[in-house]
């Protein structure tokens, strides 16, 4: 028998050294503002607008804000604006 001992080639990832948990969710979307963040690619806008309309049917007084930076990935100022103005955010890269 031969025992081969080798070193693992896989490196730890920087971001996992300070990993974060997702935020607590609201119990309901009644009265909430939903942000829809579009990367600008075909079909993603249709998907997001559909999601916004459906949420307005299912919950009371849902406001929908639509954002796009016109490109993928969305520029930081667009994400910041959506985060500041909305209670929850949905994104679609169309992939």
């Amino acid at each position: 028998m031969h025992l081969l001992e080798i070193l693992n080639p896989v490196a730890p990832q920087r971001a996992m050294q300070s990993a974060l948990q997702p935020n607590p969710r609201p119990k309901s979307l009644d009265g909430k503002t939903v942000g829809l963040v579009w990367s600008g690619t075909h079909g993603g806008d249709v998907a997001l607008k559909t999601a916004g309309e459906e949420l307005q049917k299912r919950f009371k007084n849902v406001r929908v804000n639509f954002y796009t930076g016109g490109n993928y990935p969305n520029p930081p100022h667009i994400l910041k604006q959506a985060g500041e103005e909305c209670d929850v955010v949905i994104g679609a890269t169309a992939d």
Binding site: L4, I6, A51
Partner: protein, 441 residues
């Protein structure tokens, strides 16, 4: 969406089925492994609008669950963190090496070919090839931003069968990737298009380690070192940069250019300063440049003998592909010019003049170049191109434009053996060059 979560707001992406692996890998790379998302079956981008809407409606229960407290709050099983040492038993050493290869193939840690065992002895020998300590962090390697210590680079170089004298080149190439425009080319590396790094070495180290500057991109004996260094870089990109297929490498079809190669510029046959001198290095210094290519075309020449004739053929042959009308600009062309083209061109053109000539003559129909991206329903069209939306297809076809934005978007290097066959690579974002000498023993 992780950026929004970091602001304290719940956020979810809608992800198509094939991209779930990408979502898992990206959530780890960007520091929120338990991010939730909603899966829809098909990619929206080429889907009719009624189908975009209907598959979203079908996903609404999931969207509501994940956006509200009624959803799943469990942690995703991400697997154990990698151990530093692994052991494989076999009937003999060869059998143990084969078992290691079977296991690494199962975990997709290689390139599909037989891997050399990265034993402690092999890695220790490679570490003698650089002055840097084993625990030195060279960079966080894109696209997954694994921590590229010199030791991890050496482990992957050992897998590739590299030698100690290759280490300074490999380390510099890893560093260079992290400096490529746009977060180390993160978006391009993760793209569904076949973007692949290509390495080019300048300076005395190319000859010293045996890099082939002639027929430099093929298989076989003459390119042993070109292959080994390129392979070591690829394995670093995979196991340090997390560039795993169907996770952070999302190619639609893929490309053999992802078997990364490292060439040397054929400086002895060039009429111009070497590429790295254009980047501010001295001729007797060594440097490596990382380009990210998106294709490859042979532009043949069957009889032009003047610089102007050869360059016009090259300009016309470089008009293929698409042209961006986004804010990001019009793309780039990396051109490996063989000595039989560079020699005559160099008699009448400086490199700067050659780039200007190429830009002036590399024109094409705008309508053909932008057919890939219908203007309506597209938010990525830059403001200065919005006027195109009012034109007919016929009008768009009649407009001619330069294929790239300016002369600076042509990157010229002399590579190749005798014969006037030029290799043109659509490329981008901007390449990065890093000095090698700083990593010598």
């Amino acid at each position: 969406m992780i950026e929004v979560e970091k602001m304290g707001k719940p956020a979810i992406p809608i992800v198509s089925g094939r991209f779930e692996g990408d979502a898992v890998a990206s959530s780890r790379a960007f520091g929120m492994p338990d991010l939730k998302w909603v899966i829809v079956p098909r990619i929206y981008r080429n889907l009719a609008h009624d189908l975009c809407a209907s598959q979203t409606v079908a996903a609404m229960d999931d969207i509501v669950k994940i956006l509200t407290a009624s959803g799943d709050t469990s942690s995703r099983k991400t697997g154990p963190e990698p151990t530093s040492v692994e052991r494989f038993e076999g009937d003999d050493r060869w059998d143990a090496v084969l078992r290691m290869n079977q296991e690494f193939m199962k975990r997709d840690l290689g390139d599909g070919f037989l891997l050399h065992p990265p034993t402690k002895q092999a890695v220790a020998a490679l570490l003698k090839g650089t002055r840097l300590a084993a625990d030195t962090v060279v960079c966080d390697m894109p696209p997954g931003f694994g921590i590229a210590t010199v030791e991890k680079i050496a482990v992957n170089a050992a897998l590739a069968g590299a030698k100690p004298e290759h280490m300074p080149v490999i380390i510099a190439a890893v560093k260079a990737l992290s400096k490529v425009g746009g977060h180390g080319g993160k978006s391009l590396l993760m793209s569904t298009s076949p973007n692949a790094p290509l390495l080019m070495v300048n300076g005395p180290i190319g000859k010293k380690v045996g890099l082939n500057p002639r027929s430099a991109l093929g298989p076989g004996r003459d390119n042993e070192i070109n292959i080994v260094i390129g392979r070591a870089f690829y394995l670093c990109l995979k196991n340090i940069g997390y560039w795993y297929p169907n996770q952070m490498d999302m190619d639609t079809i893929g490309t053999t250019r992802k078997f990364v190669m490292c060439v040397a510029e054929n400086e002895a046959a060039s009429p111009w300063d070497p590429y790295h001198v254009d980047q501010g290095f001295k001729p007797n210094e060594s440097a490596v440049t990382v380009f990210v290519t998106d294709g490859e075309l042979d532009v043949q020449d069957q009889g032009n003998t003047t610089g102007e004739g050869l360059l016009k053929n090259l300009a016309y042959g470089s008009t293929f592909g698409t042209r961006s009308i986004q804010d990001k600009g019009g793309g780039e062309r990396l051109i490996f010019i063989p000595p039989d083209v560079a020699g005559p061109v160099g008699k009448t053109f400086t490199k700067k003049q050659a780039r200007e000539f190429l830009h002036k003559h590399c024109y094409h129909s705008l309508g053909k170049l932008i057919q890939y991206m219908p203007l309506k329903g597209e938010a990525r069209v830059a403001k200065n191109w919005k006027w195109l939306e009012n034109l007919t297809e016929e009008q768009l076809l009649q407009i001619t434009v330069p294929v790239v934005d300016g002369p600076e978007s042509f990157y010229l290097a002399v590579v190749g053996a005798d014969r006037a066959k030029t290799a043109v690579f659509p490329s981008g974002p901007s390449p990065a060059t890093v000095g090698i000498d700083q990593y010598l023993p």
